[in-house]
Amino acid sequence: MTVLKPASIPWLLAHELRLAWRGAMSGRKRGAIGTAIAFGVAGVSILTVGVLIGLGARGHEVPIGPLSIAIAGLALAVILTLMLSTTLAGAADALYVRGDLDLLFSSPLSPRKVLFVRALGLAVSALLWFLVPAVLLLTPSIALGHPAWASVFVVLIAAALAATGVGLLLAMALFALIGPRRTRTVAQVMAALIGAAFFLGSQYRNLIGEKASQSLFARIALDAKEGRLQPPPLADLPLRAALGQPLPLLVLVAVGAGIFLLSAWTLGRRFADAAAATQGAETRKAAKGPGRAFAAGAFRATLRKELRLMGRDAALLSQVLLRVLYMLPLALVLARNAAHEPAWMLAGGAAGVAFLAGQVAGSLIWITVSAEDTPDLLALAPTPVSTLNRAKLTAALIPVALLLVVPVAVLAWFQPLAGLWTAVGSGLTAWAAGMIGIWRQKPGKRADFRRRRGSSFLAALGEVVVTMLLGAATALAVAGWLAWAMLPLIVAGALMMALRRTEEQIAAALRAAAVA
């Protein structure tokens, strides 16, 4: 920072990136070695694939034909969509998570410059997720005879700029249409939907019940081979740009930078006004009508409080919505197979439902237990910790039960026994994930929900392994191999025993975490 001119755009950008980096790394200090190892393994794996591609592509040129054009276009569309999901959520946060915005606005810097840099920070954050793997994947090919492929990096930069521009425009449009109070919620839900769009697209056969056996890629390949694929005009632009052709590359960069500059620079003033307008925007109209009777006892009061807080958490709702979307194709496949196929054909779907139930329960228990806003208040109360934990576990399991109602009911309608085992397996998986969340709790903040797994590597790994084992047991039970289902069940039980902590051990771990 010191080598950069204070208050300049690079200086401000360095400040933004430093904050973003520290935000991404917060809560990972204890698991820093584990995180470094995970990143290292992923990096080496991608690099290995990159070397293989580089060796395989030596002496070959990418043909510019309908198939390669379609693949390049589709890849860019997926990347743009995922980037947009990130930048839309980031743009909404930039309005609300004020942090240093008040400080910056009260300084002699122009608001437009501040927000331009914030937008640039968003673009860089979105870019890095794709640029780093792309560098590892393509550098061997670039070194082994395809220097023009370095243009892919420029295409990614253009995509990040365009996605940021569109993200800002969408955030501002939401702000104008539905006001400051609802913008953050809707933006986060929209970001989740956009992020899941291609997953749902790839599942179109499951969603519409098409019997065709080939995948989307195989279908495109077949269409190209049989001459049915006719790319529209300019559809070859991404491929030509990625291969280093100057004009297409220039066009993509101009479009990306144009969208970014248009929204970040020209909307700067409006964005500043909108950010200022969010001050106090959380004040809601008071509820009317006769007040509800108070809940009796600590269990009910805690359960009611947790359900209220979950229902009012936009980030959490969008994450749960994502999982519902992931469950949708699975549920439809299950429903269709349940009507026509034997029980063993349902095993994979049942395992998937059980695994997702565990994942949702794991997320929710983190919110209710680890992200408790006022742990001191609970510690002060004469209520036993076990009562509070029971209430929090119940609160985490209620939404899971609601999610499971439809797939289990459909399954039970056609094949009651398969429905019963799916319900039992999913319930057990959700409960197990909840108990691991209670035993291995580590204080965190609701805002860190998306990074929660970084705070306790062991708990996250344990949760995934146990939910997978219980998913496998569910599958075996649904298939009718009950004796075999005992095997993963016993292993999961043994793992649960290893992860279990008594109330005293949990309290000691929390005290140790507080001192650290």
């Binding site: 959380e282 809601r284 008071a286 809940a295 409080k305 807080l309 009012r312």
Partner: protein
């Protein structure tokens, strides 16, 4: 007069000793002010009394209940309100009070009536069903105070209760605390506003470096401050007494 709080030999060390061998007695029905410079050990002492921090050694008795042997019974008798309000931004004041009353197992009908009365007294009736996220710091402090009072604790412990309150709200809180003491309740508070302690406290404890330097009425403290500088008991405001007692030896 019975003792509301007896503390004996209370000690806590984090990286360095925070509280060392503190003995403290607070009588039932009095307002006791615990004063000390920043980092003196006031909050750590009170957190140990409230059961929020585990002492390394020492005893805490609340109205005769051993807080270390029977923490649930001790907690049922007290309330703790720190300077950072322990509230939920996404709950309304009424919902918050419902939750706190549930934690202390108060009958729901009684709790609701008390909640409405408390919010009215604190001037929060119009905000009772609005989420706390848009509230000012002072309003949040008032909600937290209502939470501390909803189960009518016999011992109320407040850490810097006037932080962030405007003059009118501060006056309101002071009046509420005084009314509570007049009605036989016991209040322990820490404050940096020495004038408040001087005017309101029945007795004052002065803590520095994790040790209780002096304890007593203002008059008794004046005497101790006089002895500390080698002179006879003199007059002086609490501020002068405080500075004399907490002054580092030259």
């Amino acid at each position: 007069m019975t003792e509301a709080l007896i503390v004996r030999g209370l000690s806590k060390t984090f990286a360095k000793p925070a509280v060392s061998d503190i003995d403290l007695t607070v009588r039932a029905g009095e307002l006791y002010a615990l004063l000390g410079p920043n980092g003196a050990g006031k909050t750590t002492t009170l957190r140990m009394v409230a059961g929020l921090t585990q002492p390394d050694k020492g005893e805490v008795s609340i109205f005769g209940v051993d807080a270390r042997k029977d923490p649930a019974a001790a907690k049922a008798l007290l309330a703790w309100a720190p300077d950072e309000a322990m509230i939920y931004d996404k709950l309304t004041p009424l919902e918050y009070l419902e939750f706190v009353a549930g934690l202390w197992n108060i009958d729901p009908t009684t709790a609701k009536a008390r909640a409405e009365t408390l919010l009215a007294t604190l001037g929060l009736t119009d905000e009772a069903r609005r989420r706390c996220e848009g509230f000012s710091r002072g309003m949040k402090q008032k909600v937290a105070l209502a939470g501390a009072l909803i189960h009518e604790p016999k011992l109320l412990i407040l850490d810097e209760p006037l932080t962030g309150l405007d003059a009118a709200a501060a006056r309101l809180v002071k009046d509420m605390l005084q009314a509570r003491v007049d009605a036989g309740g016991t209040v322990i508070l820490t404050t940096h506003i020495l004038e408040v302690a001087e005017r309101m406290a029945d007795r004052i404890g002065i803590i520095a470096g994790g040790r209780l330097l002096a304890e007593g009425t203002l008059e008794e403290l004046r005497g101790k401050a006089g002895e500390a500088v080698g002179g006879a008991s003199g007059g002086g405001t609490l501020e002068e007494v405080f500075l004399r007692l907490t002054a580092e030896p030259a």
